[in-house]
């Protein structure tokens, strides 16, 4: 299952949204990966990997989920990425 989401937070996948994504993934029973246009999918349960994508605001991210909670984890991540949760 996968979905493409546009990243809304002003600073992109900065400290807080990235941490929230990782926390959310860890709370669900699903294996989740994130990918940007130019990148291979990376595990979304890793803060290092998620921050390492260096996603800026307005960029599109592909969210790929697999597992019993796939649907709900996609919903949750979409909500995080598309809310203008501000940083600094």
């Amino acid at each position: 299952m996968e979905r493409t989401v546009t990243v809304v937070p002003e600073a992109g996948l900065h400290a807080r949204p990235a941490a929230t994504v990782v926390q959310t993934v860890n709370q669900h029973e699903a294996s989740v990966q994130l990918a940007t246009d130019g990148s291979e999918p990376v595990p979304a349960n890793s803060m290092l990997a998620v921050s390492g994508l260096g996603v800026a605001t307005g960029e599109q991210v592909r969210v790929i989920a697999d597992g019993p909670d796939a649907e709900s984890v996609l919903d949750a991540i979409e909500a995080i990425l598309s809310s203008p949760l501000e940083e600094e």
Partner: protein, 575 residues
């Protein structure tokens, strides 16, 4: 060592000037290589690493809470990122593999972090700051493992200027702004967390100094966070100016903006013991006297005479200032044994404040008003000192009912010839309904005082003690700001003055905004008074009004915060 005066240039990150003695706390604490140790037992190292991770986890949590209290919710969130780095599967795997291969735990940690730190350092824009976060997490682990805790940053002697290659966000958050005279680092930029923490904590700071800072250990240093300069061996006069620039200078005279507008800066007090510190910090008066302390922790209500004595003491502490007493404000969340207070499912939406005073606690309410008016009479108040305000007003009827109880009390006192003062009367604006009725309420009273903590909670539907919704509980959300603006405008139209006694009032960062919104009075904890007065005196009203207008147009709290930050930065650069 020469005593020659020298100037070093860097980047100023907080609009403060400080003077003190340099103290080199070393380079990034975990970058130095320690000597190769002998054979280690991987199983032992593995369990050392695990327990270090637990310790680090707890200390991150403590720092997050501390940042939440001292700095702000946004800044505290950086520690959530740290927590995720600490448990990151890629990092933990790399560390565990290195340990299995025979590395001692500290070295395994350092080498696992090395590459990602380097990668983030080369990234553009804000992501580069993750390198700081990674260093912070790594240093925590290494410190725990090596038992080499850092210099006790919390307890540096007063007047220390911290010198470091770099400071991590958590190290900065641990500095005590009351003691540290400033910090200087070789790396860093204006937008890094460290800089933001320094600004929020009001610590003078200059970053990005290219000189060898270790050499400045023990030297007298003047840190000018505004100009971005460090003066080694400053002149006497420079030292004096630096110390005068520290906002701890108490001003007992009222604060005035640059264009001569007076803003009353008052103290919130919760006991009689708070009165002296309020005076010491230069309060113009008391903007919120919480009368609950007289009623709590007792088995029976206090009598009128003892209330009179307490109120009189407060009035005498500020003979030339206004003292605003809030009448008893209790509800199901702070039960009082001798009052009938059934447990309520949602005490913040239940019988509290004036609702109880007009009903089941009416006798107590009358007695309190009688004691207040008599205390005013006893100090010979002929207006302008004794003020009374009613909490938790939601309707015009409640306001009128409370006023009529007061009128009856005054009539009763005058019939018996008891000396009594006629107080100024106000209403607390802490519910959205009161805010929307500001014009009608202001028409009936002398002043309004906004309690932003409760107002924010009710407007944003977010309990203030619920950390999970802490992001919503922020008065910078546009609907709260717009209500504030409306209340001030409505009150002024009715010739009533408006104050604020919530936490927002004591936050110096918000002073320009509040002056711009037109507040006549700000009331806060005593410790914030010197800084807020200092802030007021640097404000130009027209500029502050422009700022407020601009912030009122923002759509999100993020925009408000960013615009406020930009404005402060602009002021700092002297534009």
């Amino acid at each position: 060592m020469t005593d020659e005066r020298r100037l070093l240039e860097g980047i100023g990150v907080s609009p403060r000037v400080g003077f003190g003695t340099g103290r080199w706390i070393g380079e990034s604490r975990a970058e130095t290589e320690n000597p190769t140790t002998d054979e280690v037992d991987p199983a032992v190292e593995q369990s050392r690493y695990e327990s270090a991770r637990e310790v680090a986890h707890d200390s991150i949590d403590r720092d997050r809470k501390r940042a939440l209290e001292r700095i702000g919710e946004n800044e505290a969130s950086v520690f959530e990122a740290h927590r995720e780095f600490l448990t990151d599967p890629q990092l933990t795997d790399a560390i565990e593999t290195a340990i299995d291969d025979g590395e001692p735990a500290p070295r395994a940690v350092k080498s696992a972090f090395a590459d990602p730190i380097e990668q983030f350092e080369t990234m553009d824009g804000p992501m580069a700051e993750r390198a700081d976060d990674l260093r912070d997490v790594r240093d925590r682990l290494v410190r725990t493992l090596e038992g080499t805790d850092n210099v006790a940053l919390e307890s540096l002697p007063s007047g220390t200027v911290v010198l470091a290659e770099r400071l991590t966000p958590s190290e900065t958050a641990r500095l005590d702004p009351e003691r540290v005279a400033g910090f200087i680092t070789q790396t860093g930029g204006r937008t890094a967390h460290t800089a933001i923490f320094a600004r929020s904590l009001g610590i003078p700071a200059v970053v990005g100094i290219e000189a060898e800072l270790a050499a400045l250990d023990g030297e007298p240093l003047l840190v000018d966070g505004e100009a971005g300069t460090v003066i080694v061996n400053p002149t006497r006069q420079e030292q004096r100016m630096a110390t005068a620039g520290v906002a701890q200078t108490v001003r007992s005279e009222p604060a005035e903006t640059r264009d001569g507008q007076e803003i009353e800066v008052a103290a919130n007090v919760g006991t009689l013991a708070d009165l002296e510190p309020a005076r010491e910090h230069g309060a113009d008066g008391i903007g919120l006297f919480r009368s609950e302390f007289l009623f709590l922790e007792r088995t029976d209500p206090p009598d009128e005479a003892s209330q009179r004595t307490a109120y009189r003491q407060a009035l005498e502490a500020f003979p030339n200032g206004r003292v605003i007493f809030r009448t008893l404000d209790v509800g199901g969340d702070k039960p009082i044994s001798y009052l009938d207070m059934p447990a309520e499912g949602n005490p913040f939406l239940g019988e509290r404040g004036i609702r109880r005073s007009l009903e089941q606690d009416r006798d107590l309410f009358e007695q309190q008003l009688r004691a207040l008016c008599q205390a005013g009479g006893a100090v010979g108040d002929d207006g302008g000192t004794l003020s009374i305000m009613f909490p938790m007003i939601t309707t015009v009827e409640e306001c009128e009912a409370a006023l009529s109880v007061l009128a009856d009390v005054l009539e009763g006192l005058s019939e018996t010839g008891t000396p009594a003062a006629r107080p100024d009367v106000g209403v607390m604006i802490e519910t959205p309904s009161a805010a929307l009725l500001a014009a009608e309420l202001a028409d009936r009273v002398d002043f309004l005082s906004i309690g932003t903590n409760d107002l924010t909670q009710y407007v944003m539907a977010a309990a203030r003690e619920n950390e999970r919704v802490a992001g919503l509980h922020d008065p910078l959300h546009p609907p709260v700001l717009r209500l504030l603006e409306g209340v001030v405008a409505d009150a002024h139209e009715q010739n009533a003055w408006v104050g604020m006694c919530g936490e927002m009032a004591g936050e110096p960062r918000y002073t320009p905004l509040l002056v711009g919104l037109g507040f006549d009075e700000l009331s806060m904890s005593a410790v914030s008074i010197p800084e807020v007065k200092d802030r007021v005196s640097g404000i130009d009203t027209a500029e502050a009004e422009e700022l407020a207008e601009h912030l009122l147009e923002c759509h999100t709290r993020g925009e408000v915060t960013a615009a406020l930050e930009r404005w402060s930065a602009g002021v700092q650069e002297g534009t």
